[in-house]
Symmetry: C2
């Protein structure tokens, strides 16, 4: 299959859906909505929504069913980037080749825009029309999975440990904790929630969860690798920042060669967990390979 | 009835429930959890949870049913205070007589603690045990009401307009927009969600909604008044800050006398909407009066 065409097609569908969710406003809340829209439409890869859709399809569900979940995941991812870029966090001025949110709207508005995107994700996930399609119990389960992954049990602990371990000694268990939580948790939740929305069985969700765990970790390791070996034009952000900040990364802790080896193994494992699926899981297989072959 | 005893009793129950939700941790996430706990147990009045419980009881529900909702509301309120106190927002060093979160844990951790509290609210609201008690559809409805009130459709728009209108000319429609959104929306949602958890009818929820709208606005007007006439010891925060920051407030826009008049009218109206309830709504009636008689 042509995975690039698949990704392009799904990305457009996600963008359309996001545009419908976030219409512009002329009311008092105009600037806040502009600030949210600015980061939401700043050229994201839509990896999490696409993983969600691909998982939904792998279990036999239609892409339209899981679209509110796919959008909610992108809102959460975007919020995490806005807050992560703030001066008190990573203090980044550039994201995907554009000025970061606070560079354009100021810190206060960027803070609120992030809060708004996070909150809106749960508004979407609790919609009556979505519950009608997948069932109220499944809706609630999906909210539980995603809030667990995005909160202090997941992503936020990864970020908290990440900022505190800058310049610390190179500890393997710490860097793995950071990566599994900061990036891995939400990617795994994207895959699980897509499978749930598509009506996956317990065994299928379990296989998707293991697949998601591996590619989630692999994705962040690849980010580390690209920060050393990538090109600014393709990444849309400065390179060499991890070293400059003294961040714990897989290349810095395990060495570059070993980091790449670990990554290949993770992707091998991830794909093997998809054996119980038929050809409808082909996009998931291809995305796993795409993660370690990407340059941006 | 002795409203002070009622508030004390409910406050203790809420505190107990919050303590059960947020156990301490010795893992990597220790500092993040400490930061969340610090603000959560910094002596809040628990007004929103108590309103939620009182509304649940007014429609005949038991306080234990709505406890997850009551806790979720307090998590959201606490998150909003942490983010509001940050240097890029109100830059407050003191809250309830104690150093604000970022003064103790630093800006980055305070940011993440706020994010964590907000996300955890939705984790609580989506719990299977709560859905079992009130029904999955009602659970989802409550998530919808609360996320609408807390997000860019409610609280966050109020905050966004608030920070942008500092030093602006005195506009009545703007100050009312700010107060209705920034403070009013979540207070109204507290009352509605409590009524929903308790199994209230459509008419009851409608009456609670009107009651909640009035007391929500009145509460923020009282905050404005206390910032002029209150005492630092009783308030646990500096006074005169609104004027110093050039904030739009009811006393500054309408004059103090008119602000107090508006407030009395709002409370009268609020209480009149409770006529359709029996004596079980007594706490709600008393809380309305408490709001305009409080000194801290």
């Amino acid at each position: 299959m042509d995975i690039k065409a698949y990704i392009r097609e799904m990305r457009e569908k996600v963008d359309d859906a996001l545009r419908r969710i976030f219409p512009q406003s002329d009311g008092f809340e105009k600037e806040l909505i502009s600030s949210m829209r600015y980061s939401l439409f700043a050229g994201g890869k839509r990896l999490r929504p696409i993983l969600c859709i691909a998982s939904c399809e792998a279990v036999g569900g239609d892409e339209s069913i899981c679209m509110p979940v796919a959008c909610a995941l992108e809102l959460i991812h975007t919020y995490s980037l806005i807050h992560d870029d703030l001066p008190s966090m990573d203090d980044d001025e550039l994201r995907r080749g554009k000025p970061t949110n606070h560079m354009v709207f100021g810190e206060a508005m960027a803070l609120l825009a992030g809060d708004g995107l996070l909150t809106e994700a749960f508004y979407l996930l609790s919609s009556a029309s979505f519950a009608k399609k997948v069932g109220s119990d499944r809706s609630l389960e999906i909210i539980r999975i995603i809030s667990e992954a995005a909160g202090f049990r997941g992503m936020l602990s990864g970020q908290a440990v990440d900022i505190r371990s800058e310049g610390e000694k190179k500890d393997k268990s710490v860097v793995e904790y950071i990566h599994r939580h900061k990036t891995g948790a939400l990617i795994r939740a994207s895959v699980i929630s897509g499978g749930m929305a598509g009506g996956g069985t317990e065994n299928q969700i379990d296989a998707l969860s293991k697949y998601g765990e591996r590619i989630g970790l692999a994705f962040q390791i690849m980010d580390d690798i690209l920060d050393v070996e990538g090109e600014i034009d393709k990444l849309g952000k400065h390179v060499g920042m991890d070293e400059k900040r003294g961040k714990l990364t897989f290349p810095s802790v395990f060495g570059m060669e070993r980091a790449k080896e670990i990554n290949l193994n993770l992707i091998d494992e991830a794909v093997s967990y998809l054996n119980c699926f038929d050809s409808r899981a082909e996009p998931l297989r291809e995305i796993a390979l795409y993660i370690i072959n990407r340059t941006g």
